[in-house]
């Protein structure tokens, strides 16, 4: 009877287990498409790309291209680093901080290239470091990292070029409201993360 009880408890515990993931998995999608979705469907990532895209859209043509290049170089460096198993516990926090600053600058309609460039670099590196691939093999992990990079670059290019075409007064007002919302969400999210970490005593 004790054996039956022990077996039943073991079976019950096994039934309860689920796999641990940094983010929710997208069932049935892996490789490059999985990497694209993995990077873009995380709200913090999407929000940072929107903020950076809008900020780049407000730059002149040369500055916009240069800032996009800085983002791509930083993103690639970050993806290589995470591919080499560099682990960070602060990537999401740093990405949120950069997003909050970008949101504030958009709300203030004051986007000097000297501020936007370093923010693009920080966002690129942290975006990559916050995209660890959930894969069972090295090949799959590399494909997912490539997908994350392609997804982020394409999304940023579309957002930056798209927003640069809309410069009417009404769009400028909507953009400033959007910037204030992005900054407010990033600040609240960041403070909640820090408070949760302090309350639970967890570092990561």
């Amino acid at each position: 009877m004790n054996r039956a009880l022990g077996g039943a408890v073991l079976a019950w515990l096994l039934v309860l287990t689920t796999s641990a993931s940094a983010h929710s998995q997208i069932m049935g999608i892996g490789g490059v498409p999985g990497g694209v979705l993995h990077a873009l469907l995380i709200p913090e990532h999407g929000m940072s790309l929107v903020a950076l895209g809008v900020a780049l859209g407000r730059q002149d043509h040369t500055a916009r291209r240069f800032a996009a290049l800085v983002f791509i170089v930083a993103l690639t460096a970050g993806l290589v680093a995470i591919g080499l198993a560099v682990e960070t516990s602060f990537a999401t926090d740093a990405l949120l901080a950069a997003t909050a600053i970008l949101g504030l600058l958009i709300a203030a309609a004051w986007l000097p290239p000297l501020l936007v460039l370093p923010l693009a670099a920080v966002a690129g590196v942290m975006f990559a470091l916050d995209s660890p691939p959930e894969a069972n093999s090295t090949d799959e992990a590399v494909r997912m990292l490539i997908g994350s990079g392609i997804g982020a670059m394409l999304a940023l290019a579309l957002l930056a070029e798209g927003s640069s075409h809309f410069r009417s007064a009404a769009v400028r007002i909507v953009t400033r409201v959007l910037g204030s919302w992005i900054a407010a969400i990033a600040i609240l999210d960041l403070s909640l993360r820090i408070a949760t970490r302090l309350a639970t005593g967890s570092i990561s």
Partner: protein, 196 residues
């Protein structure tokens, strides 16, 4: 004896059929977004003050119509961060009640101060609202979903105020908007009386 063993097996079978109970849904997004969205609209004192910001902005016209709703969530988020991190702020509830009185009175009396004074006034009151919300935010919630719901609901309240405030283009609408301001101020007086 066999029947007794079968009876003992029943709890085991039932145990195998159970599933774990969670305080929130597994992904947390739905309940936390909704929780964040509900938070600013669940208290009348917060609700009327945020509507008053939109009303006053619409009453003052461009650029206040968009500047005040830009200032409010930004400063509110800083106040919220202070509240979440446990930084004390004295007289929060009194400040919220006074915000409803002051902003409602501005609309009721059709006050037109310089834009920077209006922005500072709205920003100062936003700290109290943010701090109160931040103090009540549940630690461990799905932070991003909760924050999105929270900020979007605040923005919607401003938009509601602006929509109603645009009625002030017409004489009858102007009276309705000023009356709404007076009602908001009276609600603030009621809350202030409750806290004193």
């Amino acid at each position: 004896m066999k029947n007794l063993e079968r009876i003992h097996l029943c709890p085991l079978i039932l145990l195998l059929m159970t599933s774990p109970a969670f305080a929130h849904s597994e992904n947390g997004v739905g309940i936390d977004f909704v929780g964040g969205f509900k938070h600013p609209i669940s208290g009348l004192d917060h609700l009327v003050a945020m509507v008053a910001v939109g009303l006053w902005g619409a009453f003052l016209g461009v650029p206040a119509i968009w500047l005040l709703p830009v200032v409010f969530p930004l400063v509110m988020a800083f106040g919220g961060a202070l509240g979440v991190l446990g930084v004390p702020l004295p007289g929060v509830e009194t400040g919220i009640a006074i915000s409803a009185i002051a902003l409602g009175a501005m609309v009721a009396f059709a006050a037109r101060p310089p834009l920077w004074i209006a922005a500072i006034l709205v920003g100062a009151f936003a700290i109290f609202h943010g701090h109160a919300h931040g103090t009540e935010l549940p630690v461990g919630a799905d932070a991003i979903a909760y924050s999105m719901g929270f900020v979007i609901a605040t923005g919607m309240l401003h938009v509601g105020g602006i929509a109603f405030g645009t009625l002030s283009r017409w004489p009858a609408g102007r009276i309705a908007v000023r009356a709404a301001g007076a009602i908001i101020a009276l609600i603030g007086v009621g809350f202030l009386g409750h806290f004193i």
